[in-house]
């Protein structure tokens, strides 16, 4: 029997970054293949190659034995490869049927054939168990779970042969997840092949027939789900050495400077407690979407606090960002482009924005003094640039990130909240940032790091807690964790 989809040695580079370095995948008709791997392992790039959004640099793909080379997403869809992304891609204002048949509307001459459209949409809705939904309802009136089913109905209506689901359960409730699994089993029975991407290993064990593990852009293992213990899969996912990236001087933790008690935000986090000491580096592990970023944002006043208490030194309660800075707390955003930095402004403006004091008489801000205030930081943490006047958009990602961190140094904060501080930057810059974190801790600053990169947390932190679906686990010293343990707690395999 020929496989439904095969990929051999697929490679893809973006500039100097190797996103895919040789991926092999096989799916049989009516089979569910789980695709697992840590964040950054190359899953999303693989999806984009499969959907035709990226053209691979090397490698071959076959669909039912025929060479498969989609030049663009439309071609992929026509060939019968459908994607359901984490972020749903429906047009919220138009009706369910128009969404289902978007781009392939039945027509009679120049006019839309509404009757056929409604009939075909109703049939597709029936297949995904949405019989009760009127095809003319605007999509925005449906729940997230129903919207997802509409997307699947769209794939079904186009008679897809391969359905790729990217983290389909991340925003679903338990009963909705059960319904989705039921639907997946029905689709299997119709010989549709399914590629199921998920962080949650329990789900993947439940629904998949086989699995393939990606790590650093490569296929590192594949097997039959039923016959493989979960420990083995995790070992395949993380199997890396912690190298000498992480300098670590002996530190003496001081008094508690940030204390969070039973914090709940809007949605996430649902329950988080932690105590951060001076001179300590504290890590928060967990999967994307577990509520780690929301935890930092609630602490920093960028997201609402619904319950619980936040105490910073002598101050208690929630506070907006400008007060947090005054309490000597600073934050680095995970999203440099959208939030972390104003790319259109100069290094000097970005670096000094959080603290414009002392840059001129009478609370005035002199541009020359802004620039002068930047120079020591540019030198100290070696920001590669032409000078403080340079526009931030001209810098590399690593150097931009250093500016974002230097902002906290300039503001001379005591508590540093770092959200994915080394995401998407080169190893050299990473090493410098780890060194800097170590130095800060030694000088009595408190650092809270959120990261998806486990070796980084195990290397740089003194204590670590894990976030899973909005709840923060108990805090344990670094020595009591290993990657496997972190992964087990993060994927909800084990209560800590």
């Amino acid at each position: 029997m020929t496989n439904r989809l095969e990929m051999h040695g697929v490679r893809k580079c973006f500039g100097a970054t190797r996103a895919l370095a040789g991926v092999d995948i096989k799916v049989a008709p009516g089979e569910v293949l789980a695709l697992v791997g840590e964040n950054g392992a190359g899953k999303s790039t693989l999806m984009k190659v499969l959907s035709g959004a990226h053209t691979p640099d090397a490698g071959e793909m076959f669909l039912d034995g025929e060479p498969y080379r989609p030049g663009n997403p439309l071609r992929a869809r026509e060939s019968g490869v459908a994607m359901i992304y984490q972020e749903l891609s429906l047009a919220p204002h138009i009706s369910v049927m128009e969404n289902i048949l978007l781009g392939v509307e039945p027509s009679r001459g120049p006019l839309l054939d509404w009757r056929t459209m409604r009939r075909r949409a109703a049939r597709a809705l029936h297949e995904v168990g949405l019989d009760h939904v009127d095809p003319s309802t605007p999509v925005r009136r449906l729940s997230i779970a129903q919207q997802q089913l509409v997307e699947i109905a769209r794939a079904v209506a186009l008679e897809c042969r391969v359905l790729v689901l990217d983290e389909p359960t991340s925003s679903l409730t338990l009963p909705d997840i059960e319904k989705l699994f039921e639907l997946i089993r029905n689709l299997k029975a119709r010989r549709i092949s399914i590629i199921y991407i998920s962080h949650f290993l329990e789900e993947m064990q439940k629904i998949s027939d086989r699995f393939t593990v990606l790590r650093d852009g490569q296929t590192v293992g594949t097997g039959i789900t039923r016959e493989t213990p979960v420990e083995r899969i995790i070992a395949l996912m993380v199997g890396r050495d912690v190298d000498e990236l992480y300098p670590r001087t002996s530190r003496m933790p001081g008094e508690v400077i940030l204390e969070v008690k039973d914090l709940a935000g809007e949605g996430k986090p649902t329950a988080a407690s932690l105590a951060l000491h001076r001179g300590e580096v504290f890590g928060v592990a967990g999967l994307v979407g577990a509520g780690r970023t929301e935890l930092l944002r609630s602490i920093f006043g960028l997201a609402p606090v619904r319950r619980g208490d936040i105490r910073v030194a002598a101050y208690s309660g929630a506070a907006p960002p400008h007060k947090r800075w005054a309490q000597r707390v600073g934050m680095v955003s995970e999203d440099r482009k959208a939030e972390g930095l104003a790319l259109g402004l100069s290094i000097a403006d970005n670096l000094t924005l959080a603290r414009l004091d002392g840059l001129g008489p009478w609370r005035l801000v002199f541009p020359s003094r802004q620039r002068a205030a930047c120079r020591p930081w540019i030198e100290k943490i070696s920001i590669k640039c032409a000078g403080p006047r340079q526009q931030l958009a001209d810098l590399s990602g690593g150097n931009q990130q250093k500016v974002a961190i230097a902002r906290l140094l300039h503001a001379d904060v005591d508590v540093l909240l770092l959200d994915e501080p080394t995401r998407g930057i080169d190893v050299g810059s990473k090493a410098q940032i780890y060194q800097l974190i170590d130095e800060l801790a030694m000088r009595g600053k408190a650092v809270l790091i959120v990261s998806s990169y486990l070796p980084e947390l195990l290397g740089a932190c003194d204590r670590i807690a894990v976030m899973c679906r909005g709840r923060l686990s108990e805090t344990r010293p670094r020595a009591d964790w290993d990657e496997r343990q972190l992964m087990l707690v993060a994927t909800g395999q084990e209560e800590s």
Binding site: F300, L302, P320, P321, H322, K323, R324, W325, A326, M331, S333, A338, E339, G340, L341, A342, L343, G344, L345, D349, N350, T352, L353, A354, L356, G360, R363, L364, V365, F366, P367, A386, G387, R389, Q390, Q391, A393, D394, R407
Partner: protein
């Protein structure tokens, strides 16, 4: 990037080179008309002064608009706010100067003002500028408080404020009883034999003062740095502890304030009459002046000096077209075309430098 390459691009991007470029464009447009308008009429002292007087209104309102656009906003109600200021000034002067018409309750105050005509003028200035400032504050409150799009809010208040001005004036022109110094703010001084002003009309001096103050505000105060930050990336500003809402509120209020001042000038420029339909569509000229001056609609960019040059450019085009005897439709098309060309040029320049 190597040092030498950066030196070049920094020169290319430098503020002063940018301003100089825009100034040269203004000179080119001016020379164009100076050569083509017959009999050297275009570069007479009188005409130069006229250009200054006319552009002062646009430029003064443009100061506020520059702040708004740097903060990635827009204010379509400037024309209406100018008119509100004009009407309020005229109505206040009318009240101060009129005899007998006052109510009993205000009779004493009224008589006192009547005895001191200077007081009436001061009250008129305060009322005119105050009314426009309040209108600006209202814009800011709606935009910040209700989180509405600035475009939509000010499109609405453009109508509301204009209506208010018309209502105050009963849809008729208000003729204040006597000439005051407000009415002579924009009177020619360079070319008038009877003038007692210093070289330039007082209104132009006010504009120059405004340019200096606003430049200073943008460049040397934390409010200025915050305005740039909010416009460049609102999320970053919030992350860095900038009070984004407050900053926007101040920006729209200042825009109202400058429109109020521009209203004083407009009042004088149209001959000391309270005309409720004055300054119609000025928002377009003012926005165009700011954009020609190098501000970016996406925020985070712009300069007061650029806006001044932009306002002058538009006025030169306008008066030049008039004196060339171009029909009005040609003038309108030319000015429209210049705006598009200016923005397109900026776009090309940006692409080269990044």
């Amino acid at each position: 990037m190597s040092g030498a390459a950066f030196a070049e691009s920094s020169l290319f991007k430098s503020r002063w080179v940018d301003i100089l470029g825009r100034f040269l464009a203004l000179v080119v447009v001016f020379v164009f008309f100076a050569v083509l308008v017959e009999g050297g009429k275009f570069y007479t002292l009188r005409n130069l002064e006229n250009i200054l007087r006319q552009s002062a209104v646009y430029a003064t309102a443009g100061l506020g608009m520059t702040l708004v656009i740097i903060a990635a906003g827009i204010d379509l109600s400037v024309g209406s706010m100018i008119a509100l200021s004009v009407i309020t000034v005229a109505a206040t002067l009318n009240w101060g100067g009129a005899t007998g018409a006052a109510t009993v309750a205000s009779a004493d105050a009224h008589y006192f003002v009547y005895q001191h005509p200077a007081l009436a003028s001061i009250m008129a200035v305060a009322a005119g500028v105050g009314a426009a400032t309040l209108a600006g504050l209202a814009n800011g409150c709606l935009i910040v408080g209700l989180r509405l799009m600035p475009f939509i809010v000010t499109l609405g208040t453009m109508g509301v404020i204009r209506g208010l001005a018309k209502g105050m004036a009963n849809e008729r022109d208000i003729y204040p009883p006597e000439s005051t110094w407000i009415g002579s703010l924009m009177d020619p001084t360079l070319t008038s034999k009877t003038s007692s002003g210093w070289l330039l009309p007082t209104g132009v001096w006010i504009l120059i003062g405004g340019v200096l103050v606003t430049s200073f505000l943008l460049r040397y105060t934390r409010l200025g740095r915050h305005i740039f930050a909010v416009g460049s990336n609102e999320e970053t500003a919030r992350l860095c502890g900038v009070r984004v809402g407050l900053t926007k509120l101040i920006v729209y209020t200042l825009c109202g304030f400058f429109c109020g001042v521009a209203g004083l000038m407009q009042f004088s420029y149209i001959g000391g009459v309270g005309q409720p339909t004055t300054a119609l569509t000025y928002e377009l000229f003012v926005i165009a002046a700011v954009i020609i001056g190098g501000a970016s609609f996406t925020g985070g960019e712009g300069s007061v000096l650029g806006t001044l040059i932009g306002a002058l450019t538009i006025t030169v085009l306008y008066t030049g077209g008039q004196q060339m005897g171009w029909p009005k439709w040609v003038q309108e098309m030319v000015i429209g075309g210049i705006i598009i060309a200016a923005v397109a040029l900026d776009r090309v320049r940006h692409r080269q430098s990044t």
